[in-house]
């Protein structure tokens, strides 16, 4: 994300253009008398928010395929196998 500063005076006269920049993904810091007072950032859609949270989209589109479950041989359940490995 690119980042730049604009003064309040500049923002007032070029609001539409600055908002266009923000919509395209830029971050704009607004300054008054040289001091940063506000930050304009784009509103992200759901996919972008998930990406920001570290979520990778599925490699394959569509519903999750079904898997035929197995019958386990005698011994611990699969859940127990996972939990025991964590202990």
């Amino acid at each position: 994300m690119t980042r730049r500063q604009v003064s309040v005076v500049h923002l007032r006269s070029r609001l539409a253009k600055v908002l266009q920049e923000v919509e395209r993904g830029s971050e704009v810091v607004v300054t008054r008398s040289g001091r940063a007072v506000a930050r304009l950032v784009p509103v992200l859609d759901a996919d972008a928010r998930l990406w920001a949270a570290g979520v990778h989209a599925p490699r394959r589109e569509g519903p999750v395929p079904r898997v035929k479950p197995v019958r386990l041989s005698p011994g611990p359940s699969l859940t127990r196998t996972v939990l025991e490995a964590r202990d």
């Binding site: 928010r49 979520v55 999750v64 197995v70 996972v82």
Partner: protein, 147 residues
Amino acid sequence: MIRFWDTSALVKLYSSTEGGHREALKRLHVFPRRPVRHVTSMIAAVELISALARRTRDAALVAAALRQLEAIGQVEFTERHRDVALRLAGSGLARGADTAIAAQALVVAEASGMPVEFLTADEAQSRVVQGEATSRALDITVVRLPL
């Protein structure tokens, strides 16, 4: 809504004798009224394949599980997740991988702004996630599946 699967919940899909098998299947395959994004952790994916391979020695099942994982969103482990995980681990209430996965679910809930349903059969992990969700006012519903 995001349905976040811990390994202890995912693993229930692969054996009909697991407690909570039917419930896990329903939550994965039955379409609810509002759209659901299925998500798990990259750490959980490795834990799952490891558990299936060690316990069943069934290469076909492992291959099928890998295909299934490709259709599920997966969360990487970044510095942001690590920082939350270290804080949780420091409380002494949970262990290693389960703490890392809990941290990932918490970050996803916080950063996405979407409601999260967290599925787990791990009691210690469910308590950690529930406690954090309450104290930080995160929109997380913890669903504890039977052992």
